[in-house]
Symmetry: C2
Subunit: 332 residues, 2 copies
Amino acid sequence: MAERNRQILLKARPKDRPGPEHFELAETPLPEIGKNEVLVRHRFLSLDPYMRGRMDDSASYAAPVPLGGVMEGECVGEVVESRHPGFAPGDWVGGARGWQLYSAAPGHTVQKLPAVEGVPPSAYLGVLGMPGTTAWVGVTEIGQPKPGETFVVAAASGAVGGIAGQIARRMGCRVIGIAGGAEKCRYVTEELGFDACLDHRGDLGRQLDEACPNGIDVYFENVGGAVLQAVFPRMRDFGRIAFCGMVADYNVRPLPPGPSLASVVRKRLRLQGFIVTDHPRAWPSWREHGAAWVRDGSLRWKEDMAEGLENAPAAFTGLLEGKNFGKLVVKL
Amino acid sequence: MAERNRQILLKARPKDRPGPEHFELAETPLPEIGKNEVLVRHRFLSLDPYMRGRMDDSASYAAPVPLGGVMEGECVGEVVESRHPGFAPGDWVGGARGWQLYSAAPGHTVQKLPAVEGVPPSAYLGVLGMPGTTAWVGVTEIGQPKPGETFVVAAASGAVGGIAGQIARRMGCRVIGIAGGAEKCRYVTEELGFDACLDHRGDLGRQLDEACPNGIDVYFENVGGAVLQAVFPRMRDFGRIAFCGMVADYNVRPLPPGPSLASVVRKRLRLQGFIVTDHPRAWPSWREHGAAWVRDGSLRWKEDMAEGLENAPAAFTGLLEGKNFGKLVVKL
């Protein structure tokens, strides 16, 4: 193997928006594997908004990426060499192996991916991976919508929002998406089957009033900022907000204020943040439900495929600006 | 009975702070009772912050008091005449009978109060009434503190906060109160037995850092405004906020913004509003627990007794400004 490893390192911590100056492409020798390790050639890398938080050194639920360290991220790839009895060359595996072409992975840090007809390997980074499981937890465990309720989801054309809305629809809700631009909104209604999709570039308050004349029972929050400000006063009594992400605030310091919380008492609202890694039992549960719906074609999703590790930083900054359309994956 | 009824009516809806111009004292004939009704001479009237909301005509969880209508409120009093088989003259009863001296109450709208040694009738307006039950629900069902956790409660010398903190302490928490002024803080630590009490007139952020060096697990919110702004960034991962009231915001229009909610995701916070009347099973549960602790002297509370129906409006506006010290009750 004459090939060398290539890695994207964190070069500097961004003050607000990340740019090319915060990343560095490095070439290193291929790693050597030890006992119970496998050498994985990563084929697809997932890019997700949470990675922005890992670039800061402030307190968070996970340790930051150290300066000069490999950017963190989930990959799927092929085993090319194995010193672990459970893996053989040619096996497809998934794991948090970072923004790089190769890694020497202890066997317990990767999961073998089942070869299921109709389920491509990259699906394990999206619809059946962390974003899909996040949607599953946020809807079924946090938002807990009931049949007939009005369910609103932000970033509805995104990797999490698109799945969340489809799950809520299967649970009997009226599902209203929010997305940026006519093309994404059309996709959300025509491809994903939502009851409506509102363009946050228009007057979102007025559109919400028309689409949700009786208010909102459950809001799945991926965005924050102005979208939250528009949704919040339209929550119904006993409404729930599942706080999954606040992309609009990730690059803003100091943080802008939130909505007045006076109505939380009056309306008996429940606002709850969650992180999918706190819910280990949800992963197998979602793989079971989700894979069946992927196979029978009833669950729709979209990938936005970038090409080449060297283009990951630009794709990632575009993701934070809402430029992607569908689950962002880099083909390595 | 030559005596006449006296009532406090809502004369005008306040724009912000209520004042004497929004109330009117009226004299009317004594009401006549019909079948299954009792005539009650109210002896004590409870004054509570929620009544401010009833003076507005905006959408709320309860209908507003109509202009010219009797102000709403809980009373305890004596039956002076009965056409209901379950009540006899001399019985003590409690019910939402309004700011007035007498009412003709259908039997099902009042509850007979048990004559328990060591439990004065006015206790059923405070420690064993709505405020005490509110504390019980907010701590046990919403905040759900675990032994060893740090529990912070605002308005700690008040009717709800003082009980909430004592319940949390019985559940094994370290309990930190917040109150206004040295006298109230001394009462909270020396009389109620809290571990500490912070004066929000000082630098509350710094005091919270010292009293809660590892952050706050559960916050029982009665206040809103600047106190919430100081507490919010100090919540720990998986922290819970029981939103019971937001007195600081009741008289402010437009509502001031709240804290940024970006940390709700990162810290997996749960913010939940509640209203005691949604929790009917909590009332008998609290009467049972609370009455035992009142009788054995282990639960401490304080009444702030105003005298005379005509002084209820001034006592009420003082309550909204934090002038009372203990559960505010008017002796009629």
